[in-house]
């Protein structure tokens, strides 16, 4: 019996594996690109637009290194530097966690610190990670027209262990808060898209309207997944629709053309899917909104699908149907005043400097409870029955901010706390002068009913070498944003309907860590007068020369002889001396002293003056000779 089964099975298995191979073979070859745009009215009368482009390529070892849709530059980067995962973001403006959301997927993924942030995980031996990082920063700075190469020096990046939310010993993290982000960074970013901004959703990216916004963050996330490479590019913009205030406290109405000044005239033909989503939060009657028109608002285009989530409604539009004659111009018109609030992170983080002067100061991170905490706290009841919020703090200090880690103080509800109660875990890697930056990772466990937590740490300001000052040294130095993440809180959209293949939505459905970045701090350091070294040289040299000269004079002076010499000459008074004494008398306002009263001084002055004259001539002669010889060469 067993044998017959076996003989049955073997051909079946072979057939199955063959079929599987065929199926995989056909699956593997395709490179996929998809584009989507999420629009979301924000409670503070602004509109958020989130462009998301996804480019998948099969692994290069099976598929070769020639790509059809996937950008060549990125795949070469991956091959050359063995990047396993990488994220690069360019941000201008600060994400408003209170009004724009703090705990939803959009904000936890796309709220980025000001300037440039780069982190990368490499697939190389541990000793080569730093070299790969340095090469990668240079390549990226060339690719994106930004000074990412400043992240090359070991003083500007760090290797987070667990505080970053991703534990790998081949991870490097660095940020440049001062990098100005503008259109020269967007153009190379767009070049990576197959349709660039010529067609499809990306055609909306009208530079003036994008950069007029309150916040924009362009992000590039590259990851190696089982099925090859995945390149996600997203641009998040917060815009203010132009409206006239009508006094009725209505939310502003907008359309794509009023927001961006352009319309979508069709999808990018290379995209597998091309969708526009409209996410509406805090609607009064979520059930009624499947209709195109209702008493609260009106949409110009009928959505193809409507998805309901716990707190919001998502309208999905397919832009396949739009064409040159019939462009896709979604507009939203409010009819009733509407107010809602966004989901907040459990704690709101801010950071500031304390102290004054150019010598020392303190950095404080303040975590304040938000309204949403009550809602969330219910979920986090641990075994002990006590509700706890976990928060990780990750902070990089440049070496010239010399932090005293022993001065770390934690105040919970304005009461100083012994560290062990709240502070569960801390990892500190101190900075080395001009060698490496300092890093601090903290894991806090706070009671849910906490109102505020303040963390303060003192520091001394270091002195930089004269070469290390940037061109505008008086502006001050930036301390990169701290990252506060909540490991027990995950943001995800919870759709009731089953989603098939829409890339942005499947992304939103994945749980992501709730995280928020604090402000960038500006520390004024003592800036020297940059001509100082030469002044110091000149002054010390002059003092030395004076000392040396007078010592030598004292050694070879013959006082008795000079006195005799002066006595013999005492009767004659030089015209110059008379003039000089008159002049000094005039200055002092005293009558002219008789010249004979101090003959020694007079003689000395005349001797001195001739000496001086001789010296001047000598110096001039040497200078002239120098000039002559140097120009001759």
């Amino acid at each position: 019996m067993a044998r017959t089964v076996l003989t049955w099975w073997i051909p079946l298995l072979i057939l199955q594996s063959f079929l599987l191979a065929i199926a995989f073979g056909s699956n593997e070859v395709e490179e996929e690109f998809s584009e989507s745009l999420l629009l979301k009215p924000l409670p503070d009368r602004k509109v958020l637009a989130h462009f998301h482009f996804e480019n998948r390529a099969p692994p290069s070892n099976s598929h070769g290194r020639h790509h059809h849709l996937f950008p060549k530059a990125i795949s070469q980067l991956v091959q050359k530097f063995r990047v396993k995962e990488m994220e690069l973001s360019f941000t201008q403006g600060r994400w408003n966690h209170e009004h724009w959301g703090g705990s939803d997927t959009l904000s936890s993924m796309n709220a980025k610190p000001v300037g440039v942030e780069l982190w990368a995980v490499f697939d190389v031996p541990r000793s080569e990670v730093d070299t790969s990082w340095k090469n990668l920063t240079h390549a990226l700075s060339g690719l994106f027209c930004a000074s990412i190469n400043f992240l090359e020096s070991s003083t500007s990046y760090a290797a987070p262990t667990w505080g970053f939310g991703r534990s790998s010993d081949k991870l490097r993290y660095g940020s440049l808060p001062r990098e100005a982000v503008c259109t020269e960074n967007l153009t190379p970013w767009l070049k990576l898209l197959p349709c660039r901004d010529k067609d499809g959703i990306s055609a909306l990216m009208n530079r003036p309207s994008v950069y007029r916004g309150f916040y924009h963050s362009q992000r590039l996330h590259l990851s190696m997944i089982d099925s090859g490479m995945l390149l996600e590019q997203s641009l998040t913009v917060v815009l203010q629709p132009d409206t006239v205030y009508d006094g009725k406290d209505l939310q502003p109405s907008w359309s794509l053309s009023s927001l961006f000044g352009r319309k979508v005239v069709g999808k990018c033909v290379l995209a597998k899917s091309s969708n526009v989503y409209l996410q509406m939060e805090g609607l009064a009657h979520p059930e009624a909104h499947t209709l195109l028109k209702n008493e609260e608002f009106e949409l110009s285009i009928k959505p193809d699908r409507t998805l309901r989530e716990t707190s919001s409604v998502l309208f999905i539009f397919d832009i396949d149907k739009s064409s040159d004659s019939e462009p896709f111009d979604l507009s939203l018109t409010w009819k009733l005043p509407s107010k809602w609030s966004c989901q907040q992170a459990p704690l709101h983080a801010s950071r500031f400097l304390m102290g004054s002067g150019n010598e020392r100061g303190a950095i404080a991170i303040l975590l304040k409870a938000t309204e949403s905490q009550d809602k969330l706290s219910g979920k986090d009841i641990t075994n002990g029955g006590r509700c706890r919020i976990k928060a990780n703090v990750f902070q990089i200090f440049p070496w010239y901010v010399k932090v005293y880690y022993h001065t770390l103080q934690i105040f919970v509800d304005q009461q100083q706390n012994t560290s062990s109660e709240v502070l569960k875990k801390i990892n500190v890697s101190p900075s080395a002068d001009k060698m490496s930056s300092g890093m601090m990772e903290m894991m806090l466990e706070l009671p849910c009913e906490v109102k505020s937590v303040a963390i303060s740490i003192e520091y001394d300001k270091g002195f930089l070498h004269i070469d290390e000052y940037p061109p505008d040294a008086n502006q001050g130095f930036d301390i990169p944003s701290a990252l506060i993440s909540f490991p027990d809180h995950h943001a995800s959209l919870d759709f009731k309907e089953e989603l098939s293949t829409l890339p942005l939505l499947s992304k939103f459905k994945d749980k992501s860590l709730v995280r928020s970045y604090t402000e960038v701090l500006l520390v004024p350091l003592t800036t020297p007068d940059f001509s100082m070294p030469y002044n110091v040289i000149t002054i010390t040299c002059t003092v030395f020369a004076l000392y040396f000269g007078s010592l030598l004079n004292a050694l070879r002076r013959r006082i008795g002889e000079e006195e005799r010499f002066l006595k013999s000459k005492g009767k004659k008074t030089g015209g110059l001396k008379q003039l000089l004494s008159r002049f000094t008398a005039k200055i002092r306002g005293r009558p002219v002293e008789s010249p004979s009263s101090e003959p020694t001084a007079a003689a000395q002055s005349s001797v001195l003056s001739s000496k001086l004259l001789f010296k001047i001539i000598l110096v001039a002669g040497v200078a002239a000779a120098w000039q002559y010889f140097s120009t001759d060469k």
């Binding site: 030469y534 040299c541 070879r556």
Partner: protein, 600 residues
């Protein structure tokens, strides 16, 4: 202190008037002291002895560059152009009355006549040997014999029949045992057929062989000798190029010896149609042999991409007669649209390597089919053009120019079309290297059929490239090193790191090696070592430490040290001078007093 003590004594000694002639102004009774003089001179001398140390401390580090070797290299390259040994072997089959030595001298004359004008670098030092095989199968050859040609292997009657490729292969077997005395050996086989009325046929093979077959060649003896020498010089020596058309600076190889071939498929409007290619197959099947063949000349890497929304920037017009859109040769400078064609980003090309762009342009539906019209009114067969040092463009029109219905899908360019495209590309690539792509080479004396190689370049063409490339590399290496040495000598305060010195040393070594390899006849080895020499020389010249302005100038030095040393030096020197003067004066006084005393 001695003098301060003695000075008050002076009047006391004079006033009593032991000698009434004593005058305190011109005489003194005591010996002048040396103490102050000693002090000032020791200070001066310690000051002077400190100077070398100061000099040492402000000295900047300069690695010793072999200036002399650099000069001698460039002199050598300028004065004696690099020549490679080449051995030409001519086999005359079916000739009765000719003597090999006479033939050799005649061919030598012909070669000399043809090479007289072009004595440029990278050409051959010719040595010729001739074998004559008469119809009975007896051979006579010039001495010393360079080739172990076995007499009678080539049969006069049957030779030349069949495919030319087969003949080429058989010749390779015949001459497989041959090697010239250094350098490659090229052979021409002249077969005089017995049969009447056979046309004269001249073929140049893929390897290093050519053959001329015909009847009645013995009667046209002078003509045949001229043609043989022409094959040797114009084909094997100069690669079938007229008047050395390609100069060194147009050699499309980066100064680090690398070349990146970047292939781009441009869909000018994907809304009309999207075409894709299977580049992996082209790369592995068609390009790999070419890159392998060119390995001694350049380190070639291949990359590809497909771009969309890339219109050309010139306009085309509809031609009713040709039923197509045409662009003319005058439009070519405006064809490449550098704003929209994002071809240039390549992380693979590092530093100074050269990128050659090869673009396949698929026109949009509005301008399909698109053809290039030559100045004579005809349509270009290749439908492409090259831009020297940039690359080439091929316009490929989709079949029938039929738009996809509604939503365009991804079409693949068929393998046949792809092969055609690659053929055109290879032609362009050869053109960028200065070779012609025609199968017939014509000269005044007649035409030669040239067998194409599947590797893109025949062996004798590769030899020509190696020779020219070696020569150009050595020239460029010597000029680079020469300008580096001039620069270094003109800035005496510039810091020169050891690395630069070493690079210069190794570059010179590689150049020497290339020269010696060239004289021994190793074409590819001399090409690769000359490449190394050039790349090292460029590395030294563009070393980042030279680029920076961190040299410590004399002015800087003077500005830092003069505030201390000028005043102090003034004091010290003046003091010493004055003391010396005073000492002399006082000594004179003392001496006068002494003489006075003696006389008194």
């Amino acid at each position: 202190m001695e003098e301060t003590d003695s000075d008050p004594l002076n009047p006391t000694t004079s006033t009593p008037g032991t000698t009434p002639e004593f005058d305190p102004k011109t005489m003194r009774s005591s010996k002048p002291g040396l103490k102050r003089l000693l002090i000032t001179t020791t200070v001066l001398f310690s000051f002077l002895s400190g100077l070398p140390f100061l000099w040492k401390s402000v000295e900047i580090y300069r690695s010793q560059l072999p200036f002399h070797d650099i000069d001698s290299l460039s002199d050598q390259i300028k004065s004696t152009p690099l020549r490679f040994p080449c051995t030409f072997h001519a086999v005359f089959v079916g000739f009765r009355s000719t003597h090999p030595d006479q033939l050799r001298s005649e061919i030598q004359d012909g070669v000399n006549r043809l090479t007289r004008r072009s004595s440029q670098c990278g050409s051959c030092n010719v040595s010729i040997s001739v074998t004559v095989q008469n119809p009975d199968g007896h051979c006579s050859e010039t001495l010393p014999s360079t080739c172990s040609y076995r007499c009678g292997v080539i049969k006069g009657d049957v030779f030349g029949a069949g495919l030319d490729d087969m003949v080429d292969e058989s010749l390779d077997d015949v001459f497989s045992g041959c090697s010239g005395d250094g350098g490659e050996m090229y052979s021409v086989v002249v077969v005089n057929k017995e049969k009447e009325d056979e046309e004269v046929k001249a073929v140049v093979g893929k390897r290093r062989h050519a053959w001329i077959v015909g009847s009645g060649l013995e009667e046209r003896y002078g003509d045949v000798v001229a043609r043989v020498s022409e094959v040797f010089v114009k084909v094997f020596m100069n690669g079938g190029r007229e008047d050395d058309s390609i100069h060194g600076e147009f050699m499309p190889v980066g100064s680090d010896g690398r070349l990146v071939l970047s292939f781009s498929l441009l869909n000018s409007d994907p809304r009309d149609w999207i075409y894709d290619w299977d580049f992996q197959r082209i790369d592995e099947g068609l390009l790999a042999p070419v890159t392998k063949a060119l390995a001694p000349i350049a380190d070639i890497s291949v990359e590809s991409q497909v771009l969309y929304h890339t219109p050309k920037s010139s306009f085309s017009s509809w031609d009713e007669k040709l039923q197509s859109y045409i662009f003319r040769t005058s439009d070519l400078p405006f064809f490449v649209n550098s704003n929209e064609w994002h071809l240039d980003t390549s992380a693979g090309a590092s530093g100074r390597s050269k990128i050659l762009q090869f673009v396949v342009y698929i026109p949009s539906g509005k301008e399909c089919p698109l053809h290039l019209q030559l100045p004579n009114g005809e349509i270009s067969k290749t439908n492409g053009f090259i831009s020297p040092m940039w690359g080439g463009v091929i316009v490929w029109n989709p079949r029938n120019c039929v738009k996809d219905s509604e939503s365009p899908s991804r079409n693949m360019i068929s393998p046949q079309d792809l092969e055609k495209i690659v053929e055109v590309f290879l032609g362009q690539f050869r053109q960028l290297f200065g070779f012609k792509s025609e199968a017939i080479y014509t000269s005044e004396l007649g035409s030669y059929k040239i067998l194409p190689s599947e590797r893109g370049f025949t062996e004798w063409e590769l030899d020509v490239l190696s020779r020219k490339h070696t020569c150009f590399n050595l020239q460029s290496c010597s000029t680079t090193l020469g300008s580096l040495s001039r620069l270094v000598q003109s800035l005496p305060r510039m810091i020169i790191k050891d690395e630069i010195g070493e690079q210069v040393k190794y570059s010179l070594k590689a150049a020497k090696l290339a020269q010696s390899n060239a004289s021994l006849g190793g074409y590819s080895s001399s090409a690769s070592s000359s490449r190394e020499a050039r790349s090292l020389a460029e590395n030294a010249f563009f070393h980042p430490s030279i680029m920076s302005v961190s040299y410590f100038s004399y002015e800087h030095c003077f500005a830092v040290y003069s505030p201390f040393f000028l005043p102090v030096a003034g004091h010290v020197v003046l003091a010493a001078l004055r003391e010396w003067k005073r000492y002399k004066q006082e000594k004179a006084k003392y001496l006068t007093w002494l003489t006075r005393k003696k006389t008194a």
